[in-house]
């Protein structure tokens, strides 16, 4: 795993009301962070389905950052606590699958915490870099789910593995 040129790819899930705005704020304030992260907006961290995290890994991501409002500040009252509970169970399950639970991280960031979010992204990218590439299943795009109608292989299926 001593890949000198390894650049991790991280998928980040953001809450529409806090961390997505924190990302906006980081932008407005021109706070720099590594380009290794790609963000997805959800309405709430409570929308975070563990399936998304597994999907990110199976699609080739090396780490997943989950972000939400601080405890007690959820715009939907307390849905971030549901994200917290799922996060705990997800990490345990990933460990059971032989995967470093540190590849998933939960960070609370309010709409005002652009600098904090940028800092968290930067340090998470470095943590993942230190863990090395995940290389999950070789070619993630080639996976077609066993479940009907949910085939995930489409245009990418011709991509050489």
């Amino acid at each position: 795993m001593s890949d000198e040129s390894f650049e991790p790819t991280v998928i980040g899930f953001t809450c529409n009301w806090c961390s997505y705005r924190a990302a906006d704020l980081a932008g407005t304030a021109r706070v720099k962070y590594p380009p290794n992260i790609r963000l997805i907006r959800l309405m709430c961290s409570g929308r975070l389905d563990p399936t998304f995290v597994l999907k990110a890994f199976s699609s080739g991501a090396d780490g997943v950052l989950i972000t939400g409002c601080h405890p007690g500040e959820c715009h939907y009252l307390e849905q971030n606590y549901k994200a917290l509970r799922r996060f705990h169970l997800l990490r345990r399950t990933l460990q059971g699958l032989g995967l470093e639970p540190e590849r998933v991280k939960l960070v609370w960031a309010s709409a005002a915490e652009g600098v904090k979010l940028a800092h968290e992204i930067a340090s998470f990218v470095e943590e993942i870099r230190a863990l090395g590439p995940l290389h999950w299943g070789g070619n993630g795009s080639n996976q077609s789910s066993v479940i009907s109608g949910q085939s995930t292989a489409h245009a990418f299926k011709e991509v050489p593995a």
């Binding site: 932008g27 021109r30 380009p35 929308r47 990418f156």
Partner: protein, 676 residues
């Protein structure tokens, strides 16, 4: 710019990708032309039929570009790569709508806030932009045309809290001609303002300016005043709330009572008034909290009433000229229908006993700010004489300590906003009425806003002494003879750079404001959220300060955070304006981000039943399935993520959309070489 002839696609949709330069904001870091061309060529099989870059996509010319393409190229989906959707999502959705495309078939992806402004490496930024665009393309493919949900708005409004913010709100709405139910927990409206003597910085008599407003609210034909009442339950949703209210038994028949006050006069039992008089004075068991109370009806304190304790007395009943005393009166519970709700539930005061080193509760001549308000009030227990706890000694030296419980990590981290001005007001009043030497102990002097700093200067000129530094301790243990018989304030004078011990006769603690003890409970009842400090959270701290995340519920006054009277009034009026705006619309469109349950797939396992803070999920016992009320659903998606059967789906953020976006974002990792 590359155009496709429409062949060799995996999908039926026709997608346009528009990459914004945003002047040099994006184009300075991202090769926007390359991103547009890449999308048009490499994502051709994913339905992209055109990729364009343009200087300012949000300009009217940029929007027309999209509109023309929709019409001429028959686009069925649009992806705009520009700034944050929080800025221009509506702009591009509207452009699509003008061209006849359902606005929800447009996806705005951020390559400014999330790429060009935060990254420096041009190659990496361009590659990331491609990934972000590809994520947007995959996501938009799964978008569905959506229609906003339209609901009617009931014209009546509920205002909770009869302090100055609530009164202002109620009057504004009632004056505009709409029904208001003003609910107040205490026997009278007026709130904290009714307890004050003077108001800073004008030194207006608080009662003189408040009472007319109270009377107006009490007599307004459009205001239904419900004092000594509390909201028990809130059902429904914006435009259509059903609010259950408990009107506590006053033991007074309001139809018969004339408010003559004879019962109060004749009642033989006096108890300490902990509420209105802050424990400094007494009230009767049958009482109105203060002379100007609105409504005029007294209320019976059942816990302390001799009749309720021993079965005899009934002095009030005997003397009541209109037979209005009703010992058998029970609480009334009823419901009202309203379209909007304003919460102006106010604040509690910080408990000064918690700062043990200031000695409140132990050292008799340490007063809280509220106690001082009552002392200095002409209608208060001392008729306005500023005297020590013994009720007669006039202090010769008074110390006013700022930031008690505020700006203190041990208690509340925030600034309570009003304490500096309050401290200055006290200094002025002490100086004016006693001629005593006054010390203000402050951390920073905060006198922002109109005419406030001028007041500070005036108090300085009056000779009040200011010591900058946090008070360490208030003690009655003297170290030298001069300190004997005094309270000694030990503090650091940071301007002089030394420790000081200042003997005084009276200490006034400028105690901070706190969220109501039951704020969390109230928040839950009305579907709001509280900040870590416990204040209700506004929808946007700058741009939407009186709205909340729950449509149709607004907040005003100190319930949202510490503020002074002018700001409370301004918020009360602002909330009223928002409510009136809603009423005038008659019906409103709700964002169609909603969850719904496929009734065939639902097994009635009831995992989701407890997850919705807005009570939008109903369980049908008869059919053993759960259902979501679309008008109550706020679209957070927690239930969608939790449903083990996959029976719950959510619009605009469906599993399919998110998973597709993940794949799109990871496209470049899989390998860029897509066969055409």
């Amino acid at each position: 710019m590359t155009q496709d002839n429409g062949n060799s696609q995996d999908v039926q949709e026709r997608i346009g990708v528009y990459v914004c330069h945003c002047g040099t904001n994006i184009a300075g870091t991202v090769d926007v032309q390359q991103v547009a061309e890449w999308a048009a060529t490499r994502l051709k099989r994913r339905g992209v039929v055109i990729g364009r870059d343009y200087k300012f996509m949000c300009s009217s010319l940029g929007q027309e570009l999209i509109e023309n393409d929709i019409k001429e190229l028959g686009l069925t989906r649009v992806v705009v790569a520009a700034c944050s959707p929080h800025l221009h999502e509506a702009t591009f959705r509207n452009a699509c709508q003008r061209a006849g495309l359902n606005p929800y078939l447009c996806e705005l992806v951020s390559i400014r806030e999330q790429v060009s402004w935060v990254h420096t490496d041009k190659v990496a930024a361009t590659v990331k932009s491609q990934a972000v665009v590809s994520g947007g393309v995959e996501r938009v493919l799964r978008h569905e045309p959506l229609e906003p949900l339209r609901v009617p708005i009931h014209p009546a409004t509920l205002v909770v809290g009869g302090g100055i913010a609530g009164i202002q709100s109620a009057l504004e709405i009632a004056d505009a001609g709409y029904r208001v139910y003003l609910v107040e927990r205490e026997p009278s409206i007026g709130g904290h303002m009714a307890q004050f003597d003077k108001t800073f910085p004008t030194l207006d008599c608080s009662a003189c300016i408040l009472t007319p407003r109270m009377v107006q609210a009490g007599a307004h034909p459009n205001i239904t005043l419900l004092t000594y009442s509390e909201v028990e339950k809130v059902d429904g949703y914006v435009g259509n709330f059903v609010v259950t209210i408990r009107k506590k038994a006053r033991k007074i028949n309001e139809e018969l009572c004339t408010g003559c006050g004879i019962c109060q006069e004749k009642c033989p039992v006096k108890v300490i008034d902990d509420v209105y008089e802050a424990g400094l004075g007494y009230r009767k068991v049958v009482y109105t909290p203060f002379p100007q109370a609105v409504p005029k009806f007294p209320v019976m304190d059942v816990e302390n009433c001799t009749y309720f304790k021993k079965g005899t007395c009934k002095a009030c009943e005997k003397f009541c000229p209109t037979n209005a005393i009703d010992f058998n009166q029970q609480d009334e519970v009823f419901s009202v229908e309203v379209g909007n709700i304003v919460l102006a539930t106010g604040y509690d005061l910080f408990d000064a006993r918690r700062v043990t080193n200031y000695g409140y509760g132990r050292l008799p001549n340490v007063f809280t700010s509220l106690e001082f308000e009552r002392l200095s009030n002409a209608a208060g227990p001392t008729n306005g004489s500023i005297v020590l706890r013994d009720g007669k000694t006039v202090p010769k030296a008074v110390g006013i300590i700022h930031c008690v419980g505020s700006r203190d990590r041990n208690f509340n981290n925030y600034c309570s906003t009003i304490c500096c001005m309050q401290g200055l007001k006290f200094a002025h009043l002490v100086h004016e009425r006693t001629g005593a030497t006054v010390y203000n102990f402050y951390i920073d002097m905060r006198t922002a806003y109109k005419a406030y700093d001028e007041f500070y200067q005036r108090v300085l000129e009056e000779g009040t002494l200011f010591v900058r530094g946090k008070v360490a301790e208030v003690t009655d243990v003297p170290r030298i003879k001069d300190e004997e018989g005094h309270l000694i304030i030990q503090c650091e004078d940071t301007l002089a750079g030394k420790q000081r011990r200042i003997p005084v006769d009276m200490v006034i603690l400028s105690i901070g404001l706190q969220p109501r003890a039951d704020a969390k409970e109230t928040a839950k009842k009305f579907g709001l959220s509280c900040s870590a400090d416990g204040w209700f959270i506004e929808k946007h701290p700058k741009l939407d300060p009186v709205a909340t995340m729950t449509e149709g519920v607004y907040i005003a006054g100190c319930a949202q955070g510490p503020k002074d009277i002018p700001s409370s009034v301004a918020q009360g009026a602002a909330a009223a304006a928002r409510v009136l705006g809603k009423i005038q619309q008659r019906e409103m469109a709700l964002e169609p981000v909603r969850a719904s349950i496929n009734q065939d797939q639902c097994s009635g396992c009831r995992i989701c039943n407890n997850l919705c803070p807005f009570n939008a999920i109903l369980f049908h016992d008869d059919r053993m399935v759960s259902e979501i009320n679309p008008a109550l659903c706020q679209g957070c998606g927690t239930c969608v993520a939790a449903c083990p059967a996959g029976a719950i789906s959510g619009t605009a953020f469906s599993n399919e959309q998110i998973m597709a976006q993940i794949e799109g974002l990871m496209l470049l990792n899989v390998g860029e070489e897509i066969t055409l």
